[in-house]
Assembly symmetry: C2
Homo-oligomer: 248 residues x 2
């Protein structure tokens, strides 16, 4: 097999980390091209590996499965997001921080428009690839939800978990919407500007509920209420907030 039909000059991969990333990327490009050319099901892992000049066994040292071949290394981006959250200003609106976090994902896609656009053509077509992509989105969403929940818990929000999950989903959806638009346009247009607008919709929908500046816990209470709420409910909410604050 693979007699002299290999145009690739056998990169042979360095043992350095940069070499690993180069080979990984080469495999991704090979997979995407083959999937687009002859279909996902009709492409074997052998073909992908051969096209990248490596053995089939090596392919599975870079990707867990055939489906994973076309996706970027989400682990790296996830770690970047966690770092951003860990060093985020605690006085800043948590929803905005979450948006900043998910923007790192957007940057990742924008960094390689060619691959991103081709991948999108595949995830639209092949069900199993779409499922994988959805699963990765869910991973990001979990990280966002975890951060938001932590922030909300720290201000005594009894619905911290719910609110964190809902807002994380909204932020992720806003991001996905912008990304999809950009991908459908073939990688043209200012995705960051669109993202600003999309994020604003979410930020305004979930106004900061005591997140702003109450590090001096116990002294100030921030209550967010609908103006249409009945006054007795308002007083109840205030009392509840006071109790939460004093409980700390």
């Amino acid at each position: 097999m693979l007699e002299e039909s290999q145009p690739a000059p056998r990169p042979r991969a360095g043992r350095t980390m940069a070499g690993r990333r180069r080979l990984r990327h080469a495999l991704t490009v090979a997979a995407i091209d083959l999937f687009l050319k002859q279909g996902y099901d009709a492409t074997t892992v052998d073909e992908i590996a051969s096209a990248a000049g490596v053995g089939r066994r090596t392919f599975f040292r870079y990707f867990r499965s055939k489906e994973d071949a076309i996706f970027p290394n989400h682990e790296e981006v996830l770690q970047d997001i966690e770092r951003l959250f860990a060093g985020a200003d605690e006085t800043r609106n948590p929803v905005e921080v979450a948006c900043a976090g998910v923007s790192l994902v957007l940057d990742f896609y924008l960094a390689d428009p060619d691959v991103s656009v081709k991948r999108y053509a595949l995830t639209r077509t092949v069900r199993s690839l779409r499922d994988k992509e959805v699963a990765s989105v869910d991973q990001y969403q979990r990280v966002l939800a975890g951060y938001l929940r932590g922030r909300f818990e720290r201000v005594g929000d009894p619905l911290a978990d719910l609110r964190g999950s809902v807002i994380a989903a909204a932020v992720a959806a806003a991001h996905n919407h912008v990304l999809r638009r950009w991908l459908r346009s073939g990688g043209a247009g200012d995705a960051h500007a669109d993202a600003e607008q999309a994020f604003r919709l979410v930020v305004e929908a979930f106004p900061p509920a005591g997140g702003t500046a109450r590090q001096d816990a116990g002294e100030t209470v921030v209550a967010v209420l609908r103006s249409s709420a009945a006054l007795p409910d308002v007083v109840n909410e205030i009392n509840a907030a006071l109790r939460r604050a004093e409980a700390e």
Copy 2:
């Protein structure tokens, strides 16, 4: 193979639709039990099929893959939701209609607590099963987003697509939150009541669009107060804040 080791009395499935559903459910139960007992990877499709008294080939006529075995028939629920949307009152708040739609999913899980709880134990543990579940959630979310987008477009909302996606994600997340809580509790508690509260959070975050742009202005009031303030002062402050908000 399968000499006399079959306790199942060979249901032999009717050819009726009800027979099909019964066998499908029997396969699901068999799969869940085996997965829980001896692990997902250690269980083969042969074993599942044998436990249900059918051949391996028949299993794949009821489920596309081994992973699908433990999940309900989402197609039916999706169709129910579409029907509900098709017959929904056009004057009703679209977000509430979306919540009503996703409630059908909740009902579906609540209808069989035993299976649902066991399935949850698996989707928490086995990555590929969790991915499948996430993919199914995405399907529901798409249906919700499609309905919402249609409603928003019909009111001339220029951000109909974005808003539809974001709210669908929020509604789905609220539903998932409630469902997870219920599943973690082992199927106890009033999930519908929790859902009411969770949905309210989303509905209030995205009030019916009279004006598309800034619908939250004048709707919410943020009061920052010292916790040592006397309650009457608190109420006065709230009233003042309300007046300010209404003056805009």
